[in-house]
Amino acid sequence: MPLQPWMKLLSVDDHLIEPPRLWSDRLPANLKEAGPRIIEQSRGEDVAPAEVWIYEGRIYPYIGLNAVAGKKPEEFGLEPTRYDEMIPGCYDPKARLRDMDLDGVWGGLSFPSFPRFAGTVFIEGEDKELARLCVLAWNDFVLDEWCATAPGRLIPLIILPLWDVQACVAEIHRTAAKGAKAISFPENPVPLGLPSFHTDHWDPVFSAAEETGMPLCLHFGTSGSAPKTAPEAPFAVTIALFGCNSMYATADLLFSPVFHRHPKLKVGLSEGGIGWLPYLLERIDGTWERHRFYQNVNQDVRPSELFYRHMHGCFIDDRFGVKARHDIGVDHITWECDYPHSDSYWPKSRAYAAEVLADVPDDEVHKIVELNTRRLYNLPA
């Protein structure tokens, strides 16, 4: 059995739902009213009211999408919900640990929910000082409360005040000093109204990431732009193509100046799968071979070399990717669980990983499920 009992599964992509008082417990008194807080909203007679986030007067109705008891998958849709309709492991770190134990998972890194995976909801904030403090509050919750429940098992990932580069730099250094291990960053800042990877705008942020040894985690969807072929196309088309966002991010970064200017910067592609990587790297290298001469791209380093210096992918159930692991590079593959989303295999994540990795030698399995993640995120054994 290649997945040995002593190997500790580390998931690089889990999620948490923010508890209702995350911001009201941390914001200054004069900002609590405008900051994110939970209010009740009627769902009609004989139904408990929904609990929704309100932030600067705007309602954000989905605290935990589809966490509604008694619904069949075919009835899932976008609608409000309540904390008592979720499993407690969504928002309670002790319950999370119990669920991780049931799942055979040792450690996990959780992305935000209400702030969106890279904290981009705060770009919409009208009061930018409030927005900055909201970012700090989320990071403090993660560092002081969520991950402090089980240091070494709950891995701290932070978000940034993306509209202010100097504030980003300050937050990276502040949180690194408190033990942060990773930075959630948009897979493409442009659809969010922010400068691209092809400018020098982000250089101070990426330098701070290098200085603190924290990788950037690019979760698919964090650009706010989803693959969509037609207004009337079923959402299944978008879901099936979500990995394309990670392909876009890979090509974008490899043809950008980012890695040339930041030789120590590391990037983890979150939830994008891995099976597509050999094809894309071949395609990118071929493009570079033929078309670099008349374009503003680096003329000296093959893009695939940059990938192997800087980037990592991850998978839940990419069996083709596991077969193609030597074309991808075993050292560049990490594993994810995606708890508490319903596409996770909880409470059988370990058993499922063992099945998917059954034909892989022990040493490679150990790299994929644990060692590569420890190296990328600076997690001591």
Binding site: A67, I87, S113, F117, W346, K348
Partner: protein
Amino acid sequence: MSPRPESERSDWTDLDLLTREEASGRLRAEIAEIEPRLAAAESAERELLETRLRALREAVDELAGS
């Protein structure tokens, strides 16, 4: 107060959470899968299975009661 969010953009609209019902169902399925293995298990494995069964049953009870 606006009745709808200013922005409907979300990066997780396809990523529904496990419901309590779905989580309980998965736990019960795992219990049903392990129980028949107990009789045939040797003592070391049996101990592991019993520990897991206990934890799974507690989790089902907690989901039902909390």
